[in-house]
Assembly symmetry: C2
Homo-oligomer: 336 residues x 2
């Protein structure tokens, strides 16, 4: 067991930032969890499983807990989010989601009808993708020790294509699958009770159908990553670190809807750090850019490229540039 390098004296208590998916979460995973559980594969969203049989299917295993607040939001609820989020983690690993589990932690006094409604959202989201929720568990905690419902969905997928940060190469193009920041600003405006002319809907959606259309790209598809907590910027910072390469992105090419841009301006947020639940970044061989963009549809945009060096640099329309690091601190707790 490796020694624990976590600075306990400096951070004696867990803070909300430790759950934000950025710098603090990474430190917790690396210095606390991986130190104590050395088999954890922290560099991607799921872990490859190895079995002795030669012709065994290549399986990918992932888990996510969901503590989103509010439980219901424009465009989805915690049940849909949980099934979608876990399936997306498998999908960006190049695996077709096959089997899911569901673990419920319910607060005493929660409405049984709401429980059924959440379960239905889960069942619908699974059915839509042809994935089976096969096993589950139910725990109830006393009033005041939860927040309605917390969910865990773990998933097993079957590898259909390679997708790994270590496959990213200099010269790769960086593509996002659609406009960014809708899930985070949706949750934020709900929580702040901000009345917009039309509410911002979460982008919560399954990524596997899009990824299935990318399978003909074969080896030209290098790496995919969904853009959840910490947004595009944090995902790119992590990938740049793992791949040991520099990523350049151009802010004016990143699609952001005008309601999302307005909310970001109002709250002083950078849309590149805002969470999404149905968006991914894709690293592709430049020779296959057109094939990729055609398969993804008109929402997808090429936003940058990969080169030798390190770090993520965002170039602005006016010629300035800025280093994008992991999200530091907490932008908005309980986004997922």
């Amino acid at each position: 067991m490796s020694e624990c390098a976590f600075p306990f004296a400096k951070y004696p208590l867990v803070t909300l930032a430790h759950g934000a998916g950025g710098r603090f979460t990474q430190q917790l995973i690396r210095d606390v969890f991986s130190a104590a559980m050395p088999d954890i594969r922290a560099e991607h969203d799921g872990a490859d499983l190895l079995f002795p049989q030669e012709s065994a299917p290549e399986l990918v295993f992932t888990t996510d807990s969901y503590v989103v607040s509010p439980l219901r939001f424009p465009g989805g609820d915690i049940g849909q989010l949980a099934v979608t989020g876990t399936c997306n983690d498998l999908a960006v690993c190049g695996a077709q989601p096959a089997y899911l589990s569901c673990g419920w932690i319910i607060e005493e006094g929660f409405s049984t009808e709401s429980l059924y409604s959440i379960a239905q959202s889960m069942g619908n989201a699974a059915q839509e993708l042809g994935v089976q929720i096969v096993t589950g568990d139910t725990k109830v905690v006393e009033r005041g020790h939860g927040d309605g419902v917390y969910l865990n969905v773990s998933g097993i997928g079957i590898r259909r294509t390679a997708s790994h940060p270590e496959l990213i190469q200099p010269g790769d193009l960086v593509v996002v699958s659609g406009d960014l920041g809708r899930h985070g600003t949706c949750i934020l405006t709900q929580r702040e009770d901000l009345r917009l002319q039309a509410p911002i809907e979460s982008d919560c959606m399954q990524l596997w159908p899009q990824i299935e259309r990318l399978l003909p790209l074969g080896d030209a598809l290098h790496c995919m990553r969904d853009l959840t907590r910490g947004g595009l910027a944090t995902a790119l910072a992590e990938l740049s670190e793992t791949a040991a390469l520099q990523i350049d992105v151009f802010r004016d090419r990143v699609p952001v809807s005008s309601p999302v841009a307005s909310v970001c301006e109002l709250f002083g947020l950078d849309a590149l750090y805002v969470a999404n639940e149905g968006r991914m970044v894709i690293f592709v061989d430049p020779a296959s850019e057109n094939q990729l963009l055609e398969a993804l549809g008109p929402e997808a945009k090429t936003i940058g490229s990969v080169g030798p060096g390190e770090g993520v640099i965002a170039h602005s329309d006016l010629g300035g540039s800025q280093i994008l690091d992991l999200l530091s601190g907490e932008q908005l707790p309980r986004i997922c």
Copy 2:
């Protein structure tokens, strides 16, 4: 999607009993979760996974969330309990635990050193069994919306032997692997701050090493079930229902230590309903009883048998008998 038969008007709110593992939990699983998610296989602790490859390994998938309070107790902590509990669910399905995930829901303000200590317990429990914790997730909720740490551990095991309620046959003998009621009374005495001469230690332990020694029994081993929430009585009631057979047990043959018996008497509990975290019941062909008992060791006892009919009947030393049903209501919340 099947229609929902849950009596929402009668039970509009979730109660602690819905998490107790007995009658109310069963109703929630059957009428709420299975109605909305029809692929759930509720009749055993894990689900068999099917893959198209002919020579694919036979995999079993399970999940459990852990909300035990206190987080640390004589004989274990939530980390050890979580790894052990999920591995035991796989083991009693006849599957050797292979891969685990860990999902953390941490309350803001929790000690980072305690977090590391729990993670170490998980790592140690996994290493002891040669199982790998390969993937994880971290969420942090605000102060007052959790209780230190909630854990989810999902697991994948490789089938080594058959074990299913539908394999139980008339004539089978019923064997328990050791003395009952230690985990439940351990948690109870800790929570009530009851000072005993020697504290009752939880029976929290891995079942796979015992089950591996049973593999030579082959087809004579019909079904195994771990005795967690709701204890032996609830497990037998569920199994009797699924197998559509009668189970007779003899109270004076059920091993219960004298400290456990005293605590049960003090609190008016029936040891047959008290939770265990390292005990199982085994249904075996009578011709293999001796081989089974030898493999399990001197703690294991034959306590009853299976016959045609229905329900579970407990016979007392004085000749009386009593029907054992599923646990109804809540004996002790947050036992696991």
